[in-house]
C-alpha cells in the first residue's frame, strides 16, 4: 500500500515537473533568441541607415571606425554583405551565402553555417534609389549558446531541486501518514493464533475504521466458532463420562466378584482400555477449556505455587505408590499471577506424565520456588526422557513418540503448553542427568513481591 501510494504520487509529480521544465526552457529560449535576433536586426537597420545616408553610388565605403563598430559584438564574430539584385556583392564579406528570401518578405532570419561554424543570419531587402539591394548580417552563435546554457542551468537546477524536494516530501509524508497503519499491523502480527480479541479502534485512524470493524466482526465470528467447537468437545466429553462411569463400575464389580477369574489378562485389558478412555475424556475437557479462551478465562489472581504443589501430593501419591515410583517434593513458597485451577491442571499433567513414563523403582521430584528473579514450577523424573528430535512434536495434539511404551493419549504436554501460553510463558523441556526429563515453567514474580 505504501509502495502504491508513493508510486501513484511520485510518477505524476515527476511528469508534471518534467513537462513544465521543458515548456519553461522553450519559452525562455525563444525570448532570448528573440532578443538576440533583435540585435541582429538592429545591425541590419544600422547598415540600411548608413547606406541611405551615404548613397549607393558612394559604393558603400564603410570607414574602419563604423565597420569596427558594426563588427564589435564580442564574443561573437559578425559578418555582413550587401548585394544588389543581381547578387553582386557591393560591400562586406564576399563569401557569405545567399539566402532565398520569401517573396515580398522584408526582414527574415536564418540558421546557417559559415566556415564550419553555426551562424544566425538576418537578411533584409530594401529599395534604395530605385535599386533593390539585400543586406545580410550574420553572427556566430556563441552568445546564444551561452544564454542557452545559462537558461538550462538556471532553470533546470531549481526544477530538479523542486522535483527531489517533492519526492522526499511524498516519501516522508506517505511514511508518516501510514505510521498508524504500521502500529495496527504490528499489533496483529504480535498476536498468538488464539488471540481473537477485537482490535481497539480508538488508537487507529478514522479512515481504516470500516476495515478494522470488518476485521473485528471476523474475529468475533472466529471466536464464536472456536468457542462452539470447544463447547461441543466439552459437551461430548461430559455426555460420554456418565456411561463410562457405569461401565467402569461394572468392571470394578466384576473384579470384586471374581467374574474373570479364568481370564485375568482379558480383565486387565478391559480395565486399561476403560481407564484410558476416561483419561482421554478428562484431557479433552481440559484442553478444550484451556484452548477455548485465547486469553486467561478469568481474572488473574495471586496464586501460591507451593499450595498447588502440596495439594497435588494427595492426588498423585497413590498412583506413584501403585507403580513403585518415589514421588517427592522440594518446595519453597512463591507467588505468581494467574489462574489457580489452570496452573493446578498444568502441574497435574506434568506429574501424570512423569508417573506414566518413569519405570518402577524410578524417582520423581516436583519443585517450586524462586530462582534468578523468577518463579518456577518443575517436575523432574529419571525415566527415559524425550529425545531432542521429538521435543517440538510432543507439543502437538495426539503426538506419541514412536515406540513409546505407555498408554498416554498425547494431550498432556499440549494442555501444559496452552496453559503456559495463557500465562505468558512457555514449557521448557530439559534433559535431566544422568537420564530423564525436567519439564519447567518459569513465571515473572508479581511486581509488589
Amino acid at each position: 500500500m505504501r509502495q502504491r501510494l508513493i508510486v501513484a504520487l511520485a510518477v505524476p509529480l515527476i511528469i508534471i515537473l518534467g513537462v513544465s521544465s521543458v515548456f519553461d526552457y522553450r519559452m525562455a529560449r525563444s525570448m532570448s533568441d528573440a532578443a538576440s535576433d533583435q540585435g541582429l536586426a538592429d545591425a541590419v537597420f544600422d547598415l540600411e541607415t548608413h547606406i541611405r545616408n551615404h548613397g549607393l553610388t558612394s559604393r558603400l565605403d564603410l570607414n574602419e571606425e563604423s565597420e569596427a563598430m558594426l563588427r564589435s559584438n564580442a564574443p561573437d564574430a559578425i559578418y555582413f554583405s550587401i548585394r544588389d539584385a543581381a547578387g553582386q556583392v557591393l560591400a562586406g564579406d564576399q563569401d557569405i551565402p545567399v539566402f532565398a528570401l520569401p517573396a515580398g518578405g522584408k526582414l527574415s532570419f536564418f540558421d546557417a553555417s559559415y566556415h564550419d561554424t553555426a551562424m544566425r543570419a538576418a537578411v533584409h531587402r530594401v529599395s534604395i534609389e530605385d535599386t533593390e539591394i539585400s543586406i545580410t548580417v550574420m553572427e556566430t552563435t556563441r552568445k546564444r549558446q551561452r544564454a542557452q546554457r545559462e537558461i538550462l542551468s538556471g532553470l533546470l537546477l531549481p526544477n530538479l531541486a523542486v522535483i527531489i524536494a517533492s519526492l522526499l516530501t511524498v516519501l516522508f509524508g506517505v511514511r508518516r501518514g501510514l505510521l498508524p497503519l504500521g502500529a495496527v499491523e504490528r499489533e496483529i502480527a504480535a498476536r498468538s493464533p488464539h488471540d481473537l480479541r477485537e482490535i481497539d479502534l480508538a488508537s487507529s485512524p478514522h479512515e481504516i475504521h470500516p476495515m478494522l470493524r470488518r476485521l473485528n466482526q471476523l474475529f468475533v465470528q472466529l471466536r464464536e466458532a472456536a468457542e462452539a467447537q470447544n463447547r461441543f468437545i466439552a459437551d461430548a466429553a461430559h455426555q460420554l463420562r456418565t456411561p463410562l462411569a457405569g461401565l467402569q463400575t461394572q468392571i470394578d464389580l466384576a473384579v470384586s466378584e471374581g467374574s474373570f477369574s479364568k481370564n485375568e489378562g482379558r480383565l486387565q485389558s478391559i480395565e486399561q482400555g476403560t481407564a484410558q478412555i476416561g483419561r482421554l475424556l478428562g484431557q479433552l475437557l481440559s484442553y478444550a477449556r484451556a484452548e477455548a479462551s485465547g486469553s486467561l478465562p478469568g481474572k488473574p489472581e495471586r496464586v501460591a505455587l507451593e499450595q498447588i504443589v502440596e495439594r497435588s501430593a494427595s492426588t498423585f501419591f497413590d498412583a506413584a505408590l501403585a507403580k513403585d515410583v518415589d514421588l517427592g517434593f522440594d518446595i519453597s513458597p512463591v507467588v505468581v499471577t494467574g489462574l489457580q485451577w489452570l496452573l493446578a491442571e498444568a502441574l497435574a499433567n506434568l506429574i501424570d506424565n512423569a508417573i506414566r513414563y518413569t519405570p518402577p523403582g524410578g524417582c520423581i521430584t516436583v519443585r517450586c520456588g524462586k530462582a534468578d528473579g523468577k518463579a518456577f514450577l518443575e517436575v523432574e523424573d529419571n525415566g527415559p526422557g524425550i529425545p531432542e528430535v521429538h521435543r517440538q512434536d510432543v507439543f502437538q495434539r495426539f503426538y506419541r513418540i514412536p515406540g513409546s511404551p505407555s498408554n498416554g493419549c498425547g494431550l498432556g504436554l499440549p494442555i501444559v503448553r496452552e496453559i503456559a501460553e495463557l500465562h505468558g510463558t512457555e514449557v521448557m523441556l530439559i534433559s535431566a542427568q544422568p537420564s530423564g526429563l525436567r519439564a519447567r515453567l518459569e513465571f515473572p514474580l508479581p511486581a509488589n513481591d
Binding site: 456418565t242 456411561p243 463410562l244 461394572q250 470394578d252 477449556r289 501430593a313 501419591f317 514421588l327 517434593f329
Partner: protein
C-alpha cells in the same frame, strides 16, 4: 450404614448400588432431585452420593434443600463436570467432597469411609481407622482393642493425619497444630514424633507414609 444414591442414569446408579451393597452398606436409589427429597423426608440416611446433572432440579438444588432442612449428613458429589467453578459451587452448596466421573469403586468407597469417619468424629467424637480409634473427648486411643499410650504431641499429630486421610498433611501444618503445645517446635521434632508414632502403631494395621519433601499420610485402608 444407610446411603442414598441420587443418580438418573440407571447403569451408573445400579452399579453403585451393587458395589456399595457388597461393601455392606444399605443403599436406596433416587432418579431425580424430587424423588430424593421424598426419600430424605421420611428416612434417615448416613450419607448421600449426588450426581449434579439431574433432570429438572439439579443436584446442587437438592443439596441446598437438604442443608436448608437442617440435615448434616455427609454429601459426596459425583459429577461429569470437573471444572473448578462447578466443584466450587458444589462445595458452596453444602457438599463435603466430590469425585469426577468415571470413578473407580474402591475410590468411591475410600471417600465414603473418610466422610463417615469425619462425620462420626463430630457426632460421637471418635476417629476410627482400621482398628485404630481415637476418642477425642476422653483423649484415649485404642489399637485393635488394646489401649494405646500416646503423648500429647503424638496425639495431635495422629488426630491431624486421621482427620485428613486420605489426603497428605504437610509438615508445616503439623508444626502449626503443635504450636499450642510447644511454641518452638521444629520440623525435625515432628519427624521424631512421627517416628515414635510409627513404632507404637507397628502392631496394628495403620501405617504412616512419608511423602518426601511435604509431609505424611495415614494410608487409605485396604479393601
Amino acid at each position: 450404614m444407610r446411603i442414598l444414591v441420587v443418580e438418573d442414569e440407571p447403569l451408573v446408579a445400579q452399579g453403585l448400588k451393587q458395589g456399595l451393597v457388597q461393601l455392606g452398606y444399605a443403599v436406596d436409589v433416587a432418579g431425580s432431585a424430587e424423588e430424593a427429597e421424598g426419600f430424605v423426608g421420611v428416612e434417615e440416611f448416613d450419607m448421600a452420593l449426588v450426581d449434579i446433572g439431574l433432570p429438572k432440579a439439579d443436584g446442587l438444588h437438592f443439596i441446598r434443600q437438604l442443608r436448608a432442612a437442617g440435615k448434616g449428613l455427609p454429601v459426596l458429589i459425583l459429577t461429569a463436570r470437573d471444572s473448578m467453578e462447578d466443584t466450587v459451587s458444589g462445595l458452596d452448596a453444602g457438599a463435603d467432597d466430590y469425585l469426577t466421573k468415571p470413578y473407580r469403586l474402591p475410590e468411591v468407597a475410600a471417600r465414603i469411609r473418610a466422610l463417615i469417619r469425619r462425620s462420626n468424629a463430630i457426632a460421637d467424637a471418635c476417629l476410627r481407622h482400621n482398628g485404630l480409634c481415637l476418642d477425642t473427648r476422653s483423649r484415649s486411643a485404642m489399637l485393635d482393642g488394646d489401649a494405646l499410650d500416646l503423648t500429647n504431641r503424638e496425639w495431635a499429630i495422629l488426630e491431624q493425619l486421621l482427620m485428613a486421610s486420605p489426603a497428605v498433611v504437610s509438615k508445616d501444618r503439623l508444626v502449626n497444630s503443635l504450636a499450642g503445645w510447644d511454641k518452638d517446635i521444629t520440623p525435625n521434632a515432628v519427624e521424631v514424633h512421627v517416628s515414635r508414632l510409627r513404632s507404637k502403631l507397628a502392631a496394628g494395621n495403620v501405617t504412616i507414609r512419608t511423602i518426601r519433601g511435604i509431609g505424611y499420610r495415614v494410608d487409605a485402608p485396604e479393601n
